[in-house]
């Protein structure tokens, strides 16, 4: 049965966490001098809701066999995950900064690497790779009779890569009910709006035509994110049904006034004054949100 009533305290707690992750992420990017803040900020609500609430996950044992898998196909946004892992106690922020792209002592890189960070499921960076891999993981769970679910997050710009559509076809064909594709539809890619560089709309219609169960919502509204994740059908290795696609409509650079809808904030570092302005902005947004919920 579809649940409309999401526990408001859960939503508030996750919103608090999302605010903290944005805060830590901005500081992290300031300290390492590089990152992809636009896409890292747009995905915060979804990543927080998954890791802190909706994924079957043990941060003390990120290789636990029964865990749900999260594949970040937009691997250039891995700093959001590192920040979450740090908040979960896997390593300190100082440790990450100290070992970020430091040649033979490096444990963290701009693009996620599963050898360096055990909680990373797939080494990624080149776009259009995550979804085919996730299709294989979902098939692997089915073959091994495992109940865990595979979540994969792709960017909307990334959907121009043809491999995604090969994988979308295969996901529908093999009826991978244990696979959840999350499209972080933040509307921008590296040099402009996706509708200008390569239009992907009508996206939901396309996915439905490939036999996917598509759900669309505001991916920066924690209530809507929780509602979407709470209403996923149960995962089982036996389930043969349409795979789920969550079109998470988000804003690139979300909550930082001067970054939102601005493709120039796709990648790069952030200066001290910009950091302060950004921290002000996310605080203001958080307080606005709290005043109504």
């Amino acid at each position: 049965m579809y649940e409309y009533n999401i526990d408001i305290n859960t939503v508030r707690e996750l919103e608090d966490k999302a605010y903290k992750i944005r805060h830590d992420l901005l500081n992290f990017i300031y300290r390492i001098g590089m990152g992809h803040l636009g896409g890292e900020l747009s995905m915060v609500e979804m990543a927080v809701a998954l890791y802190y609430k909706y994924m079957n996950y043990d941060p003390k044992n990120p290789k636990w066999e029964e865990r749900d898998r999260f594949v970040l196909s937009k691997g250039h946004c891995s700093e959001t995950l590192y920040t979450i892992f740090s908040d979960m106690g896997m390593f300190t922020m100082d440790h990450m900064v100290e070992h970020f792209e430091t040649l033979d002592t490096a444990q963290f890189g701009m693009h996620s690497n599963r050898k360096y960070v055990p909680a990373i499921e797939v080494s990624a960076g080149s776009l259009g790779h995550g979804l085919p891999i996730a299709v294989g993981m979902a098939l692997g769970a089915r073959l091994q009779k495992k109940a865990w679910r595979t979540f994969v997050m792709v960017g909307d710009g990334e959907l121009a890569e043809g491999t995604n559509w090969e994988a979308i076809m295969a996901g529908g064909h093999h009826e991978l009910g244990n696979l959840v594709l999350i499209i972080d539809k933040n509307q921008l890619s590296m040099t402009g709006f996706t509708r200008d560089t390569m239009n992907i709309d009508p996206l939901a219609d396309k996915l439905r035509a490939f036999n996917w169960d598509v759900r669309e919502f505001d991916g920066n509204d924690m209530y809507a994110v929780c509602e979407a994740l709470q209403n996923l059908p149960p995962s089982s290795w036996e389930s043969r049904r349409k795979p789920i696609c969550l079109i998470s409509n988000t804003v690139k650079g979300r909550d930082v006034d001067f970054m939102e809808y601005n493709w120039k904030w796709h990648g790069g570092g952030i200066a001290k004054e910009q950091l302060e302005e950004a921290l002000e902005s996310i605080k203001k947004r958080y307080e606005q949100r709290r005043s109504v919920r």
Binding site: P132, I133, V135, L139, L143, A167
Partner: protein, 323 residues
């Protein structure tokens, strides 16, 4: 232990392409747990076809979409399975180079990519020729490149690879090639070349179907030109057995390479790089497909056209040695 090569038994044709399916079917029957991914090119009448029919739950068809097949194979391996993935060779190397590099090798997963139709054996012209793969695979870190010399060796490669930790490409031809070895009763290890035929004047370093051609060429060299050629089966192209190359240089002086691929960057390229850096001053020649899109025709005729048949190889070697 002496290796029993083609000279010790009557010529028998066999197919490495059939052999990999036979061995996988046998392994499945013996209880080995693995997944098999494939494209829309496996005949139901083949052994791989029987594997698919008898074990449908672990055999996954990806249609005509090789990049997704190879990417998903990486995912299957990441979920904890050993994966064998059969792809038409030219498309494996050219279409899924990105997935082999990033999803398989960089992610360091237990996928065994079986690339069929090596060289020009698919027939059908350059779209279906598999000539650039060895050069490409050699440049990808963390990838073992295995090129079995015949069907029996292919079976050993398939079985041995089950317990190997890490990614691997197994390159085989279309099938219908003669057996090089009478049986599987010889030492076979990844990364360790085999001295298939003793010889003293030069060493022919070869792999895949070319090992048989090289043996035949060695016979012609001996009978017609009085040249004693050693034949080395360099079945692992990477990591290459440099110790064996050193031994050949020391004992035979001159080196010839023969491969069913572009002469640029493959087996011959790898041997040449090593020899040059060692200050080698013997005679050296790479035999393989030249730097052009191959002429059209029957595969055997094409190889003959490019001097890769036993007579052609012998003639070239004689010219290098005495020219």
């Amino acid at each position: 232990m002496a290796v029993k090569s083609t000279f010790d038994f009557d010529q028998m044709l066999s197919s490495a392409r059939e052999a990999y399916g036979e061995e996988l079917l046998k392994m499945a029957e013996e209880g080995y747990e693995f997944a098999f991914t494939y494209s829309d090119n496996v005949a139901i009448s083949s052994s791989a076809g029987k594997l698919i029919q008898n074990y449908p739950e672990r055999c996954i068809n990806f249609g005509i979409a090789e990049p997704n097949q190879v990417g998903a194979s990486a995912g299957l391996a990441l979920s904890g399975m050993v994966v064998y993935s059969q792809v038409f060779g030219p498309f494996l190397s050219l279409r899924t180079a990105d997935q082999i590099h990033t999803d398989i090798a960089y992610n360091d997963v237990n996928v065994r990519l079986i690339g069929t139709h090596a060289g020009v054996t698919a027939a059908g012209g350059p779209t279906h020729n598999c000539i650039a793969d060895l050069a490409l695979y050699r440049a990808i870190p963390n990838l073992i490149i295995e090129v079995p010399a015949d069907a029996n060796q292919c079976k050993m490669a398939i079985r041995k690879s089950f317990t190997h930790d890490g990614p691997m490409v197994i390159r085989i031809d279309r099938g219908g090639s003669p057996l090089v070895y009478a049986d599987t009763d010889y030492e076979y290890e990844f990364g360790k070349a085999i001295e298939t035929l003793p010889g003293t004047d030069l060493s022919i370093i070869s792999a895949g179907s070319c090992v048989y051609w090289s043996l035949m060429a060695a016979k012609i060299l001996k009978d017609e030109y009085g040249i004693s050629a050693r034949v080395i089966d360099m079945h692992t192209i990477k990591p290459m057995d440099y110790e064996m190359i050193d031994k050949c240089v020391k004992e035979t002086g001159n080196i010839i390479t023969v491969e069913e691929a572009s002469i640029n960057g493959g087996l011959g390229g790898g041997v040449a790089e090593y020899l040059c850096e060692r200050g080698f001053n013997g005679k050296f020649k790479r035999i393989g497909l030249p730097d052009e899109f191959a002429v059209l025709g029957d595969p055997d005729e094409i190889y003959k056209y490019y001097g890769m048949d036993p007579e052609g190889i012998a003639k070239t070697i004689n010219k290098v040695m005495n020219g």
